[in-house]
């Protein structure tokens, strides 16, 4: 099978997205969607917590083993930030699931590639189910389903878009890992993160791109970057 394994050879699909301008109004729209069912004060405060966490993700936390991070917050509860992150991930997974369902039905693929796409579609659906469960476990309400609008015109276009989506998804999970408070939610997010990375690697291979566009250390993407990238696919 064809491979493009040269580190320097491939363009970086996510990098192309990173140059997109950040749009505060679109971000608000997306977050409103994500937080729709979390509930007024909780949603607002959870996003505040989330933004604060984003800003300090590189800051080293205390090394004392006795400290228990964020056991209580004034409003929205200790889980508010995690609920926001889970619903953010859930929304991305909704978009992925819908995309692959459309692709699988498109008739553009056959054989092993169609089989791979079916497998990925099923896995994205499992991620949706797990994240819904996680939102409920945290005491939140899963974000409402989003139906994206993805162009599905040719096999080459779909393969390219799928690679963009998967690399973006992997960087989105990576960008949130250090913001998650609940260890069980973190474990779930990590378990999904590496599967998105696997999808990304294989789709890059199909596109003759490097399996590791960022080299030895994958780059995270923050929420604003991800939102700018998915903006064209939102309803």
């Amino acid at each position: 099978m064809p491979n493009a394994l040269n580190e320097e050879a491939g363009p970086r699909p996510v990098a192309a997205m990173e140059v997109l301008a950040r749009d505060p109004s679109e971000r608000k729209k997306f977050l409103k969607m994500v937080g729709r069912n979390v509930g007024g004060a909780a949603a607002a405060s959870s996003f505040a917590v989330f933004l604060a966490a984003c800003g300090s993700s590189k800051k080293s936390s205390t090394a004392t083993t006795t400290s228990t991070p964020a056991t209580s917050t004034p409003s929205g509860g200790a889980n508010a930030g995690d609920i926001t992150i889970v619903n953010y991930a859930l929304t991305l997974e909704y978009l992925e699931t819908e995309f692959y369902k459309k692709v699988v039905k498109s008739g553009l693929f056959s054989g092993p590639t169609q089989s791979l796409l079916q497998t990925i579609a099923a896995q994205e659906q499992q991620h949706v189910d797990a994240l819904k469960h996680a939102a409920v476990t945290l005491g939140g309400t899963p974000a409402a389903k989003v139906v994206g609008k993805f162009p599905v015109t040719s096999a080459a276009q779909v393969a390219k878009l799928a690679a963009v989506v998967e690399n973006l998804g992997a960087s989105a999970y990576l960008g949130q890992a250090a913001n998650i408070v609940n260890p069980e939610i973190l474990a779930s997010a990590l378990a999904i993160h590496t599967v998105e990375a696997r999808h990304a690697a294989i789709l890059n291979t199909l596109n003759k791109l490097s399996i590791t566009p960022d080299g030895a250390f994958a780059k995270p993407a923050d929420m604003a970057t991800v939102l700018a990238a998915v903006k064209p696919f939102l309803p």
Partner: protein, 217 residues
Amino acid sequence: MADSTFAVPDLAAVEVHGTTREAFLVRGALAAVAVAGVGAAGPFVNQAFGASTPSATGDLGILNFALTLEYLESYFYNTVAKTAGLSGEAKSLAALIAGHEAAHVAGLTAAIKGAGGTPVTSPKFKFPASTKTQKGFLALASVLENTGVSAYNGQGPLLMSKAILATAGQIVQVEARHAAAINYMIGLSPTPAKGGGAFDTPLSKAAVLKAVTPLLA
């Protein structure tokens, strides 16, 4: 190819016979998936870590554990690969990964020093004769990469430092990409063997060390 062929027998054995609390948790979780199906994967991850607390050895212990695994991988791709008779795409892939694993060793060494710790030195490694062939080399590469992913994912929630967690995440994503590429190259599913492959199974430190111990001289 069926997911069931993407087996890691060594690790499965460790999980079944392990006597540590973590091994017990993992075994119970896998049993839950076996009985309840792939829908239990999310809860099973939660179950595996639900009762765990940050490791007593702390972040430095976890980093040194990760460093040891990276020493092993780096040796495998930088040294063992030279006698594996690799050619074509396999050779290119091994060369690409060799550079990454060496960078992970350097990155973890710096992280340990940055956190005020002392990096462990590299153990000596012993690889089976099967790695003298490309087929055998790639088969073991698949085991190592997939084990590495599970190891990082297993330790992630036990890290206290968010900065170190972020770095570990950057590394594990690359390990997952390696695992997928190697699996794909040798005709295995690029996603995990368990259940529907939608979740990477986390492994305890003890389980991973048992899996790689035969390779430590």
